[in-house]
Symmetry: C2
Subunit: 228 residues, 2 copies
DNA sequence: CAGATTATGTCAGCTGCTGACATTGGGCAA
DNA sequence: TTGCCCAATGTCAGCAGCTGACATAATCTG
């Protein structure tokens, strides 16, 4: 409810007219909750932050918090959603000449670069999303929730790939397989980035991702002999 | 009753001597809890089964339940652990001539086949594990927990692959990449098996898995043209 | 048969999360 | 502006997951 934009009856046309005060307030509250949660999580850890704390930091009842987010996990992962959506957008606009694998790689790189170049430094920015990623990786329940989100995102990727190549994903398994491979590569890269002392910032992430992509061929090659 | 406990032959002080009554009782309780949980979950769903129900079905306090399993998820996923361990065991014994990818594929197929041929039909068997898989896929929190377990298993696979090929996984990314790809392929296959009306039983699972493996090459091939 | 260990039971309590109902306050037409 | 409608919020009660602390009962060890 609060998460989606309600379809009001009277609007003649236009997906979004001037959002009224009510709508603006809602967005504001939602944003404030994410902010507050983010700060508290990073300061005292996910497990040691209660929903009550988050809610009262925004001066809102606990019940209201749960009307904005289904559970505590969701508010932590909300920041990632922006980046994920942008990636899908990028993928949709890749030129048709590109190989499916190329398109995926180019999209993820472009997404990180574009979001990274935005100067917004406050919470909600990419930089804070990166901080969150480290935290997610270290917090089992969060990691679990995150992985679930990722697999849902993968379904979307399958859809887009299938459309792009004009295939029926129920018949042809290639979109599903490629999406799965792509997703797992990304996760491996994320893990590596957040555990190893990798180059920081979005550009560092891009570096790591490309390193993993470059190893895809060698890893699948018949026998491994000598260094890749 | 026990004519003879499984004794390590002759060795006076092995790492594990005959397990005493205490240990046997613990295993028994643990097994009973898994059984009871399994039955209840399949009958009335994961969310609608309380820990109290499970505990009292085995005539044990709730507190004891939580001494055996860290949380409700864990008891549901405990059955899978057996299969996962066996797969790792298979992988360890693959001949060195096989390609890493071949070894992985052969191991997973062998694991499913072997476990599937065991005649034990009760809960705890492969057949009930398969029932559970469908349920996991439909239960978001369970799916989340399952995915997390899988990624931990992947770390093990990386280890085994690196040993097998004599590589340092911190230096050479190929084990990590291959393990990730393998894991994602399996997950895609599992998903497909449990959503589509796929051939049932372990052999059906093997079929689906092989279908996905066969698409790995085509999916990564440059341009997709025509059916795979 | 003691005495040391270890599993279990009991109890109290926190936190996440939900349904039900009352109240506030923005949206909108007369 | 007025006044009605309904969406957003607050309040309250309650269940379920999970944990620490302590007492009790069972096993193990010598």
């Amino acid at each position: 409810m609060a998460a989606h934009t309600p379809r009001t009856t009277g609007t003649p046309a236009g997906p979004d007219r001037a959002p009224g005060l009510r709508e603006r307030k809602k967005q504001q509250t939602r944003y404030a909750l994410i902010q507050a949660a983010h700060v508290l999580f990073l300061r005292q850890g996910f497990a040691h932050t209660t929903v009550d704390e988050i809610a009262s930091a925004v001066d809102v009842s606990q019940r209201t918090f749960f009307r904005y987010f289904a559970n505590k996990d969701e508010v932590a992962l909300a920041v990632m959603a922006v980046a994920e959506d942008y990636f899908i957008e990028c993928l949709r606009h890749r030129p048709a000449e590109e190989t499916p694998l190329q398109a995926l790689r180019a999209s993820i790189v472009k997404a990180w670069r574009d979001l990274g170049s935005e100067e917004s430094a406050g919470p909600g920015s990419i930089h804070s999303a990166l901080e969150l990623m480290r935290m997610i990786e270290e917090t089992p329940p969060l990691l679990a929730a995150h992985l679930r989100r990722v697999t849902e995102q993968e379904r979307l990727v399958v859809q887009v790939l299938a459309e792009r190549e004009g295939l029926d994903p129920a018949e042809d398994l290639r979109p599903a397989v490629l999406a799965a491979v792509f997703g797992s590569l990304l996760r491996a890269a994320h893990l590596s980035w957040s555990s190893e002392h990798a180059p920081a910032g979005p550009e560092g992430m891009v570096t790591v991702i490309e390193r993993y992509f470059d190893q895809l061929g060698p890893a699948l090659a018949g026998h491994w002999s000598g260094p890749a």
